[in-house]
């Protein structure tokens, strides 16, 4: 294998909606190497979940991949036959979806589902699959794992379901784990527990993990490298330390200023970035952040390219240069 484990190149995704075409992703490129934890961060609606779903080729029916490729182990997932894709999904790429409340079937027991999810493991029999499921539930910190297997998802709390979703993903020892907002549905205590769980996992796991979050704190605690997304584009990418200490893109800086963990004193209101994310049905001519950017000037009417600032730091802004 020559390239990184996962390499998304120039991916553009549109959604057909009654209001028109929504350009959810425009020319997005990301990479994740083995043993690396990569974060994707950005406000709600900037295309993070679309990117996560696209990697598994699990976009909804109204989505269209307009351009780009998704290479996993140097093979373009989008060009594989459906059987080969299923093999990949069942053995190599695992997903933890955003909403743990709806991620499981309401009418099958947890055990039945965890056994089903090992469908591609043809060399393991059903009893063994059940044992593995029980062991994995215990490993993610669910007590009474054996009993839980006979229960239904609605009998579990949000935190337990999120753990179960992570356990399900880990069951196949994937080489790529994609976790979409793994803590967003949870309260602070549960969030800390899940982060702790993911941190222990990353210690003894040498696959790649892609963590999607709109919450910088989660990213800071888990990731090696970060992609910042805005309006369907990657606007900055950097190692986690560089991003938190030498952010270059005005949007990244604004995000950092709004991070509650960075406030010096308790504030009555959480600061937010002024303005709203743009309407993705109308493509902006210039920089998509311009309407909200304090530094915008005439140059910003032309769309900026991603500029390399150092070996592993890049930003999409006219104001930055190496």
């Amino acid at each position: 294998m020559t390239g990184p484990l996962l390499s998304v190149r120039g991916l553009s995704v549109n959604f057909r909606t009654p209001q028109g075409i929504v350009r959810a992703l425009g020319n997005v490129s990301i990479q994740a190497g083995a043993g690396e934890v990569v974060g994707i961060v950005g406000e709600s609606g900037c295309g993070k979940s679309t990117l996560a779903a696209a990697v598994g080729n699990l976009l909804p029916g109204n989505a269209e991949i307009a351009a780009g490729e998704i290479r996993f182990r140097d093979r373009d997932i989008l060009r594989l036959g459906s059987d080969a894709q299923r093999q990949l999904r069942g053995r190599e790429i695992a997903m933890v979806f955003q909403d743990p409340m709806t991620a499981f079937s309401p009418v099958l027991t947890i055990g039945e589902q965890l056994i089903e999810f090992q469908h591609q493991m043809t060399d393991v029999d059903k009893a063994e699959k059940r044992r593995r499921a029980e062991a994995m539930l215990a490993r993610v910190g669910i007590s009474d794992a054996g009993l839980r297997l006979n229960g239904y998802p609605h009998e579990m709390s949000g935190g337990m379901r999120q753990r179960t979703a992570i356990a399900a993903a880990l069951l196949m020892s994937p080489s790529l784990l994609i976790a979409d907002e793994p803590t967003t549905a949870l309260d602070v205590t549960l969030e800390a527990q899940i982060i702790y769980l993911l941190r222990t996992l990353r210690r003894d796991y040498n696959g790649a993990i892609v963590v999607v979050s709109h919450h910088l704190g989660v990213i800071a605690e888990l990731c090696d490298r970060v992609y910042v997304m805005y309006a369907g584009e990657v606007v900055e990418s950097a190692p986690v330390d560089a991003l938190f200490h030498q952010a270059r893109h005005p949007y990244t800086r604004a995000l950092l200023e709004c991070d509650p963990a960075r406030l010096d004193q308790p504030a009555e209101f959480l600061p937010t970035i002024a303005g709203e994310i743009p309407d993705l049905t109308v493509l902006p001519d210039g920089c998509s952040f311009a309407p909200r950017c304090a530094l915008a000037d005439d140059r910003c009417r032309i769309r900026p390219e991603l500029t390399s600032l150092s070996e592993d730091h890049a930003a999409r802004c006219h104001r930055v240069s190496p």
């Binding site: 999904r89 069942g90 695992a94 979806f97 909403d99 009418v107 999810f117 009998e155 399900a168």
Partner: protein, 316 residues
């Protein structure tokens, strides 16, 4: 769950009472003297009076209803004015034929219609899906009496492969099954299409739910996603519809039993209504309504079994 069942049964009994009161009221309110219709124009007033008395129509409405239920509770549905046999016995003889007909009809149409709906989803928008769609819509549009008549003409008269009339020889199961084929076909054909469409529609809705994406994300083959994950949920509206539709099957049974001259509740009602045989009409209405209520309650309990969320709501 038990409390829910009891509540539903209580409600069912109430429906029964209302239906019966309505029936008696209808007999009273409909213009024309039932005895005169039954006996024909040459009946003497004396004969009419005696017949009214025998049918119990000379007493006040409320009293008739109360009497009817009091007797019904002890299993006595009255005496048939013509044959002088107990109405309960006559219904008990006819009912199994109709039940077998109804269950067999809905049975084969579910066995065919539900998988067809599923296949249409697995191969959605392909030629198989379109074919199933066109066939479904065509058979839904065919009323069961039309299918009956053509099936009769074709398979019984022209090719002579199935009997045209009757329910087969008593005691001979093979001949009874043989006689069941055409009537079942006539009643069930439209249902196959109906069920295929319904299963397809509710399945497509379920296929958009997030847990289906989860199943796909774990590399499950499409047929497994459809049959194991989606069907359990998509079948719920189908069961409610089948339960409601069984009432419709009873009315198709009237046509089909008359056309194929099959003994059963349908032909019993038909004959009783045309001869204004009120005790039999009342008896069959009571039994069929009770049957209908029982089926609906069973369907609800079945739905509660299939969906653990509903099950928990009713757990007490």
């Amino acid at each position: 769950m038990l409390r829910y069942a009891i509540k539903r049964i209580g409600l069912g009994l109430l429906i029964l009472i209302i239906v019966m009161v309505g029936m008696y009221a209808a007999v009273f309110l409909v213009p024309g003297d039932p005895a005169a219709v039954a006996l024909g124009p040459r009946a003497t007033p004396e004969m009419k009076r005696m017949l009214m008395e025998r049918m119990g129509l000379d007493q006040p409405l409320i009293w008739q209803v109360v009497n009817f239920f009091r007797n019904a509770l002890t299993g006595n549905l009255g005496i048939d004015v013509w044959s002088k046999r107990p109405v309960g016995t006559i219904i008990a003889e006819a009912l199994p034929n109709t039940l077998v007909l109804g269950v067999a009809s809905i049975g084969w149409s579910m066995l065919l219609g539900v998988p067809l709906g599923c296949f249409a989803v697995v191969y959605r928008d392909g030629w198989l899906d379109r074919l199933v769609g066109i066939l479904s819509v065509s058979v839904i549009a065919l009323p069961s009496f039309v299918v009956s008549i053509y099936a009769l003409l074709l398979f019984a008269v022209k090719f002579n492969v199935f009997p045209a009339i009757g329910a087969g020889q008593p005691g001979n199961v093979a001949s009874q099954i043989h006689a069941l084929v055409l009537p079942c076909f006539a009643i069930g054909l439209g249902w196959v299409g109906y069920l295929a469409r319904l299963v397809r529609a509710s399945m497509l809705e379920v296929m958009g739910e997030p847990h289906i994406r989860t199943a796909r994300a774990f590399g499950l083959p499409e047929w497994r996603v459809v049959f194991r994950f989606a069907l359990r949920i998509a079948i719920v509206p189908t069961i409610s519809l089948v339960a409601v539709g069984l009432g419709g099957i009873l009315s198709s049974a009237v046509f089909v039993e008359v056309i194929f001259a099959r003994p059963g509740i349908g032909s019993l009602i038909y004959n009783a209504v045309t001869s204004r045989n009120y005790p039999i009409v009342m008896g069959t209405v009571l039994v069929t309504t009770a049957l209908y209520v029982a089926i609906t309650i069973t369907a609800d309990l079945l739905i509660a079994r299939l969906d653990p969320r509903v099950r928990d709501v009713f757990r007490d």
